[in-house]
């Protein structure tokens, strides 16, 4: 009997574990190690953050789902990997620390035959002074990255709206809390959902709403922007994003590294090296992401973290990590099997894998401050990668060690993304977008790097309907309800 351990019960890990349990059947064991008791459909946290959904609507208990799928569930966080075992045994194992199930704080070593690291990001609030400590959100701003953060954000927004009702004008600042953030899409959704809610409440005139982002241009989204065919033209996402900001009266600061956060004020540096300050009454700033800080040790107990993980804490896989100039970046630099180059029974999926480089054009201020978005790994690629990695491991277990690995390179994969700009079955809007491929391939598509037949976007009510239907569909799928397997990632 083989044992597969999946670290992380988020989008990638849950997809990998549930498919692997289904494909492997009762003869093998799938173990999920994840610190959370609940699964969270993170994209809908935006609606929780504006008080339009409750935490209960975007989360559910993992234990009954894993019991149904015959998955061993350990509510714990992984601390370190021993991929060679130790001096007593060569069996690889992972050390975990329980966070629930009545065993809080207990340490356990769990051996494995195969392991998938799908631990997602550490929300690195501590990278910006004042934004928070380590992975803990500070007191000056709010976040929508977890369901609990979003509940808190909604509460603070409500207070801000009460002040507007009392005639007090409010400044709202939303965007990125560091020069090397990703996930601009989430902040984009949040700012336009706030704007929509204020309009609905008749308070729009009482608020100055401002966007601050590390993107070099509006609509970069960490993907270097995208070009889509519209009305016979191939148009940059910048044009449409700028248009939405203008239409909704949302001012912006771009190419900005948020360097410090204080009560009611941030300091920032721009790409031209100049520095500035921005006051706010309510602010949601996305933190930069890092790996969750897993350690790795060899058989003798020596620290090999640097060999297994990149400096940002994400796990090294089959990518080309050679440092090279932007002009030399290639689609083939991106990983396709997500297998660790040193330990072939170790894989990463979703945000947990180390990208070879960013996707947007790298940029620095004259002071040497790096101000560019890091690459997004959104839900669809995370799910597809999780499933591909699970398939590879199941084949290695069921067909033998020579079975070919499945591939899911972000340079050969598209992504469908629906960015909410306001919730409402009759008056909501969302930008529905697809990009193909996610990572531009300038050898294949020398113009825009992407196939303009499959890269498009438009804003409207239909996008909102899709976004809301996806909310129900993905929660249904994650609960493993009938026919869950036919719902694509």
């Amino acid at each position: 009997m083989a044992r597969l351990i999946v670290l992380g019960g988020g989008v990638a890990g849950h997809t990998a574990a549930t498919f692997a349990a289904d494909w492997l059947g009762r003869d093998h064991e799938v173990v999920v190690v994840t610190p959370n008791a609940k699964w969270n459909w993170i994209p809908s946290n935006i609606w929780v953050g504006v008080g339009q959904m409750s935490k209960e609507e975007v989360t559910f208990d993992l234990a009954p789902v894993y019991a149904k799928a015959k998955i061993t569930y350990k509510q714990a966080k992984a601390v370190s990997l021993n991929p060679e075992g130790n001096t007593q045994s060569s069996t690889p194992y992972v050390s975990i620390e329980y966070t629930g199930q009545g065993k809080d704080g207990q340490i356990e070593e769990v051996t494995y035959d195969y392991l998938i690291n799908a631990t997602g990001p550490k929300l690195n609030f501590g990278a910006t002074p004042g934004l928070g400590e380590g992975s803990t959100l500070g007191e000056h701003t709010v976040s929508v990255c977890t369901a609990d953060h979003a509940v808190h954000a909604a509460h603070e927004l409500q207070k801000c709206m009460e002040k507007m009702k009392a005639g007090e004008r409010q400044k709202i600042l939303v965007g990125t809390g560091h020069g090397m953030c990703t996930c601009q899409g989430a902040a984009f959704e949040y700012i336009f959902n706030i704007e929509h809610e204020l309009r609905k409440a008749g308070l729009r005139d009482m608020a100055d709403i401002k966007w601050i982002s590390n993107e070099e241009f509006l609509g970069d989204f960490g993907m270097g922007g995208l070009h889509m065919s519209v009305g016979g033209y191939v148009v940059s996402s910048r044009i449409f994003t700028e248009s939405l900001f203008a239409e909704r009266g949302v001012d912006y600061i771009i190419g900005a590294h948020t360097s410090k956060v204080e009560k009611g004020k941030i300091e920032y540096e721009l790409l031209d090296g100049s520095k500035g300050e921005e006051a706010f009454d309510f602010s949601m700033l996305i933190p930069p992401f890092a790996g969750v800080g897993l350690k790795a040790y060899d058989k003798g107990g020596d620290d090999i973290t640097d060999a297994v993980f990149a400096p940002n804490g994400f796990m090294k896989v089959d990518a080309d990590y050679t440092v090279k100039a932007y002009e030399q970046w290639k689609a083939s630099d991106w990983p396709s099997t997500y297998q660790n180059p040193i330990y072939p029974n170790l894989f990463a999926a979703g945000i947990a894998f180390a990208p070879p480089h960013i996707i947007s054009k790298p940029a620095k201020s004259p002071n040497g401050t790096v101000i560019n978005p890091t690459p997004p790994r959104t839900g669809m690629p995370s799910g597809i990668i999780g499933k591909a990695v699970a398939k590879s491991i199941c084949d290695l277990i069921l067909k033998g060690k020579d079975a070919p690995l499945h591939q899911a390179s972000m340079a050969h994969m598209g992504a469908a993304c629906v960015a909410s700009a306001g919730k409402g079955w009759l008056d909501g809007t969302a930008a529905a977008m697809t990009v193909y491929p996610v990572v531009p391939d300038y050898e294949k598509y020398p113009g825009t790097g992407r196939d303009t037949d499959y890269t498009f976007g438009e804003i409207g009510l239909a996008g909102h309907w899709i976004k809301h239907i996806l909310h129900f569909m993905f929660i249904y799928k994650a609960k493993l309800k009938p026919f869950w397997k036919v719902i694509p990632e």
Binding site: S243, A246, G249, T429, Y436, L461, I466
Partner: protein
């Protein structure tokens, strides 16, 4: 005379001077139920094509 929404935005912020602004028709179509139902079907088909190319 009522000010058109697009005029309002241009005046409000200098950064918007070169921005493309949706006109009356584009804004109407965005939440027109019948048109959006058609777009819903089309968008789903387009997305499914990209999804199927990616699995």
């Amino acid at each position: 005379m009522a000010v058109k929404p697009e005029e309002f935005n241009f005046a409000k912020n200098d950064k918007f001077r070169t921005a493309m602004i949706p006109g009356k028709m584009a804004r109407y179509l965005r939440t027109c139920k019948l048109w959006q139902f058609i777009r819903f079907i089309i968008l789903n088909i387009k997305m499914l094509i990209v999804v199927s190319k990616s699995h």
